[in-house]
Amino acid sequence: MTDRPDGVPLPHADGPLAGYRVIDLADEKGQLCARLLAELGADVIKVEPRAGDRTRANGPFFRDEVGRESSLYWWAMNAGKRSVTCEMRLEAGRDLFHRLVAGADAVIETSAPGAAKDVCADARTLAKVNPGAVVVSITNFGQTGPARNLPATDIVGSAMGGHMYLNGSDERGPVRTTAPQAYAQVNLQAAVGAVIALYARGMNGGLGQHVDVSMQESMANAMDNAQQTWDILQINNRGPGSGRMVSGREGPRYIYETVDGWVAALGLGGLIGPNSAVMIDWLDQTGEAGPLTSPHWRERLSVVQPLEEGEQKQVVGVLQQFCRTRRKDDLVREAQARGAGWAPVYSPREIVESDQLAARDYWVQVRHEDIGETFVYPGAPWRLSGTPWKQRGRAPHVGEHNAEVYGDVLGLDADEVAKLRRSMVI
């Protein structure tokens, strides 16, 4: 091994995927997928053109300074990978890429169906180069079908995947989540497909295969029970505003304003149902239960029987008043103690400051030795007792690992690497 400068991702020998190598050609639809494989122990090599991957231009940027090494998007999605440059439009670049693939277990790519063929990175070509490699192709609508070549971004995936119809309200229309969820979903579901295909090599004579992933379908899988509600009742669930939709019917609001923000309290916060007495008592202790303390209301709320609109309004009114003068964490603690599943509405800052995550020692510090800083990144999504998750370090610079990958992994000597540089392949 060549000497590793400080901050460069280290191999992760302890993860469940240790020993695997993954080649990452992906954009927004596949970079998180590859990153998670890296954190599970795979050696992930990001292949970029000499000018750097297109997504390095995605904002926001560190201190708002635009540059190809300062994209927070790039940092978040590519942390812990190695980067090599390779011009796949050149024949020598394609040869080089194929040599990487020959030693890889998986390739993650996100080009439009058919387009990868132009640079010989399509599944069929790669299967010839390395029959053992799993090729994960992540696209907007999948490799086949009438929509396969249509352009899409996150919001299009949300819309055409049926998920967005279920968000928002009648008055203001559908809404998407500002942090891109079609991208998040397709990345995560592709990662599951990738590991299933890696696992399948064990019962398939060591052969890899093509994993054809659709962003539209990944969002279709996030429609809660709306799919079945149409199938069974021929009712379209739709965006319920701040309420909740239950089997095609709009239920009461589930978020309530507090002194310091909002809380989420589903099903009237537990004021209705078998637990209602305990909840009414809580509100009653400070004399804030209003009419709900009457025998009529106590009886009415003790059974799970949908409320009339007028009744609903009264209960919601009481709850709104009660929450408005209290802090969300206090409300949640007490509601949970009384057996009601409330949760605070947290912002990113509040998530970072969460007691629960602190108690679990969740966050990781990632050194950016290149700029002399250390930042907090999300930590282990799982604690595996035998093969721990591990954050591998910051995202790589463009071509940062050319020498060590082309040298140590492919075994090229210094002259050969220099030649590739001169001919502008790397």
Partner: protein, 408 residues
């Protein structure tokens, strides 16, 4: 199964004891079931699975064998009932685990320990067991015992804060969002651990916190705070990087979405709406200056869409290469030609619910394809068969357990 020919399934020969319930755990186990594992869903009528009591119900008849909600998460599984509160039930479960490769569970932390059925106990009967626990907040910490569903976990994990209009409430997505997000995170670790076991023979325990998994789907939001000291906010349908970017109401009341990130897409957009003068203004010519004009751009598009049906507006955009789409209703999803072509909704015959649609994985494996093969089990549908054929119980033993209430 028949239409898939003789292609092998990835998890053939793998047996899973699925103790999980509601949304997340069953969806993780569904991945294994839909890809060939024998997944034995263990339930009890003494503590009925929540979703069996939640609609939509066929014929609008609330019954534990009629729930479409339950059915979709439990395709390709077998259904067994065991009352784990009885001594015989516990013993039976251990016998089942002894011949299983995987255990999945999503109870409140500590519940299985109380029953003497936690990982430490179960590994004694199956040393190479892979077991995953997946409650909302993990096995430890002050919130470990907190209860809730995906509707409120989406609040704790930032999705409410990031969904809605800037001048409005943090409404969140309209669904129990994390229930449809974190199963993929859980399944990833579980299958990775299975692959490790395949290669080394070693099992292990996975402590999965739904909350901690969900945070990884927040894009750049965490780093925006920790590196830039700035809070990401909900922006309605706008995007900090694209203009136009939004959902627009059309003449027929349906919505189209339009997203232009590149100058090429903007040119396509201009062509689609007939290159009106406003699109040629100096401040509209570059993306970075267009980002300051979103309000005006949206006003023009609203006006243009009001005179067209969603289908007309979408066609104009699509034919000019603009990333665009229709906000599809559940009904439209069922009729969508692309999803039909992909066979996304598997049609399976259920004994009481009839022919119903089930979600398929978002991916197709070329050599070892998966997908739902069997409708969800009735409550306890396979109890007798599994206990007799898999565990080798005699008729007498089975009847005895039945009479003693261990199989309720």
């Amino acid at each position: 199964m028949a239409n898939k020919g003789s292609k092998p399934k990835p998890f053939e020969g793998l047996r899973v004891t699925d103790l999980s319930w509601v949304g997340v755990g069953p969806t993780v186990a569904k991945y294994l079931a839909d890809h060939g594992a024998e997944v034995i869903r263990v339930e009890s009528a003494t503590r009925m699975e929540t979703l069996r009591g939640a609609g939509p119900f066929t014929n609008n008849e609330p019954h534990y064998d009629n729930s479409g909600y339950f059915a979709n998460f439990n395709s390709s599984k077998l259904g067994v009932t065991i009352n784990l509160k009885t001594g015989k039930g516990k013993e039976l479960l251990k016998r089942l685990v002894a011949v299983s490769d995987v255990v999945t569970e999503s109870f409140t932390p500590g519940s299985l320990k109380k029953l003497g059925l936690d990982y430490e106990e179960l590994r004694k009967v199956r040393p190479d067991l892979v077991m995953i626990s997946m409650p909302l907040f993990g096995q430890t910490g002050p919130w470990a015992h907190y209860m809730g569903y995906g509707h409120v976990l989406q609040a704790a994990s930032g999705f409410n804060h990031l969904t809605g209009w800037p001048d409005g409430e943090p409404i969140g997505t309209g669904v129990a969002y994390t229930d449809f997000l974190v199963p993929h995170v859980g399944a990833l670790a579980l299958v990775a651990a299975l692959d490790y076991r395949r290669r080394t023979g070693k099992g292990q325990y996975i402590d999965f916190s739904q909350f901690e998994g969900a945070v990884h789907a927040l894009g750049t939001s965490i780093l925006e705070w920790t590196a830039n000291g700035r809070e990401a906010e909900r922006l309605g349908n706008r995007d900090p990087e694209a203009a136009p970017h939004g959902a627009y109401r059309c003449k027929d009341g349906r919505y189209v979405v339009i997203a232009c990130f590149t100058e090429q897409e903007w040119e396509g957009f201009r062509a689609a709406i007939g290159r009106p003068d406003w699109t040629d203004l100096e401040r509209m010519r570059r993306r970075w200056s267009r980002l300051n004009e979103q309000k005006e751009i949206d006003r023009h598009i609203d006006f243009w869409c009001r005179e067209r049906t969603a289908a007309q507006a979408y066609r104009a955009m699509r034919d000019n290469g603009v990333p665009s789409g229709i906000v599809k209703s559940p009904e439209e999803m069922h009729r969508d030609p692309q999803l039909k072509h992909r066979g996304h909704y598997a049609l399976l015959e259920h004994p009481t619910m009839g022919l119903r649609t089930y979600d398929s994985p978002a991916f197709r494996l070329s050599k070892t394809p998966g997908g739902p093969t069997k409708a969800a089990p009735l409550l306890g549908e396979d109890t007798e068969r599994v206990l007799k054929s898999t565990l080798g119980l005699s008729d007498e033993e089975f009847t005895e357990l039945l009479v003693e209430g261990a199989l309720e």
